[in-house]
């Protein structure tokens, strides 16, 4: 309690002034740890590059790391896949324009955001029960769910997240990092069939190498 009225304000401004003239400090994280107040909340801001494009690559890592699931995003990830958001469509500052990936000249499809379809999750429930709702069995759960629906519907992923207690970002992030999962419904004929993602990539690589070496498939594998 200050006895002189306004003293608190002066002290506060004093601190501001001191900080103002202090040199900027670069902390060599992680060797040095910054002294962060427990209730400090940094500001979340996406940066733009010199071309005015968002620098975010939609890699989904921040969304996975965020302990309160407050980060989500739409747009193409680095694997050329469309991230489905779980919030209301209006809440997204959509990154619809070029990412570095697109600037690189690779053709990247741009599917519009569609709200996910509701799903009869009885089959998902059975699979989850067989795995004791254990998020450590996530890969097996996802594989079995894909076997039922022949792709991974968003509604199923959400259901898995809710039941296992794993964050949706984790479930979705895990699924997208394995090439044998597929997120497009069977109606999307151009998509790689379920379970074949890596096999197609590997066969393509081996065939390209074979023809570059002029082995014509003759040499033993």
């Amino acid at each position: 309690m200050s006895t002189i009225p306004g003293m608190g304000l002066v002290r506060g401004m004093g601190l501001t002034l001191t900080r103002f003239f202090q040199p900027k400090a670069t902390i060599k994280w992680p060797e040095q740890q910054a002294d962060v107040a427990p209730r400090f909340r940094g500001r979340l801001q996406l940066l733009y590059d010199e071309n005015g494009s968002l620098k975010c690559e939609t890699c989904f890592q921040c969304a996975q790391a965020c302990p309160v699931e407050c980060i989500d995003m739409g747009g193409m990830d680095t694997r050329g896949r469309f991230h489905v958001h779980w919030g209301a469509a209006e809440t997204y500052g959509e990154r619809r324009e070029e990412s570095a990936l697109r600037r690189s000249g690779r053709p990247v499809a741009d599917e519009a955001f569609t709200r996910f379809e509701a799903l009869d999750t009885t089959a998902v429930d059975e699979i989850l029960a067989a795995h004791d709702d254990d998020p450590r069995e996530l890969l097996a759960i996802l594989e079995e769910v894909q076997a039922v629906y022949s792709y991974l519907p968003v509604a199923a992923l959400k259901h898995i997240a809710r039941t296992t207690g794993a964050w949706y970002a984790t479930v979705y992030g895990t699924a997208t990092s394995y090439h044998h999962f597929r997120f497009e419904p069977p109606a999307v004929a151009t998509a790689t069939p379920a379970g074949q993602g890596q096999k197609v990539a590997e066969a393509g690589y081996l065939a390209a190498l074979d023809s570059a070496l002029r082995f014509d498939g003759k040499a033993a594998r």
Partner: protein, 444 residues
Amino acid sequence: MSFVVTPPAWPKVLTGRADTIAANPFDLDAAVRTGAFGALKKAAGMGASSTIDLIAAAGLRGRGGAGFPAADKWRMAAGVDADQRYLVANGYGADPGSHTDASLLAADPWAVLEGMAIAALAIGATEAILAVRADDASLVAKLEGAVLAAEEAGYLGDDAAGSGRRVTVTVRALQGTYMLGEETVLIKALEGRRAQPDQRPPYPAQRGLFDRPTVVNNVQTLAAVPWIVANGADAFAAIGATACPGTVLVQLRGPAGGGVAEIPTGTALRTLVDLAGGAGSHGLKALLVGGPTGGILPAEALDTPYEPAALRAAGAHMGSGSVVIADGRACVVDLARLLTRFSADQACGKSIPCRIGLRRLSEIGDRIATGKPRANDAVTLGDLAHDIAASALCDHERTATFALSATLRYFRAELDDHLLRSTCPAGVCTPIAVGSASSRGASR
């Protein structure tokens, strides 16, 4: 699955039993008659620390690519205070063009299982996991059968080979990406998490699967362990290169054929070319050593011994154990960009060198090969490869630069033909920018 025939004088550490049990490699009794699980009983009597000392004396190094001393890893894991430790046998075989590990598992699963049990006892792990590819469902089923048989016979299970200690083995069939072979990614996959590597340290041996100390060893590394226990450290240390003794499986490919061969480490690359049936009438142009992230070595490097340190110095690595002959018809620039593109596509996207660096690198390769290079592409290529290697999070990015770096280092003339004269001496790369065709191109 039979192996490439090698000179009879070459020692057989990994495939010694394969011929004898070839009729049915998954018959436990037949394997036991040839000595399987004898070493496990011996190791159970020897105790954990003497087993680790023995492996250290033998100088066994990892066969998964990095060549890390096995005993150091085991000691690290055994030294950490924990309620549970894990042993993971890495039989994923990430390179689709190399079947070394799968061949070993199909020809003699018992050597791997016995090695796993010995390693598990040595580090104090009660749970061991054999991670394999899900592609070959029949192999997975046979391996599961083998584990059951070994459990029934008392070599694994609650009282593994009379040691009084529990060692259970689980076969886990995985599919995903190339990165799944990397040890921290493999651990993530076993935990059901996103397939991206972790920063080291802490090493998996300190904090791995479910945050417990975990030893990840390649299946070949583990298959050598029973042999060392049975024949002694000195006998093993006497085989092959002094710095990395023993034998290793290589996947040979060339115009004349190929296959999987067991060779002593330190064998000259020239000998491997001969084993693969030679380079044929077009002559040897280059040797692709190490799989998709491997290096491309010129004919002058044929005297390099197949051994981690020497290969690294030459700009390649053991990697997936693949050794491919490119003959005179191939274009090294084309090969390098193919390898780099696959490596970039398979990279996990976690770190910037991985996500953006490798993509830019493969784009430079594509530009050069398609006759649309930018003026400073050769310099950018060198700088970028250096920066990626220096800032990489995992070994994948570091080694993915090898292929294009090799063209800079060994095949500069051929690269310059593409860059400066828009010609491909081997006549592989197209389209060549017609307008800028040089005197050399025009005089053809």
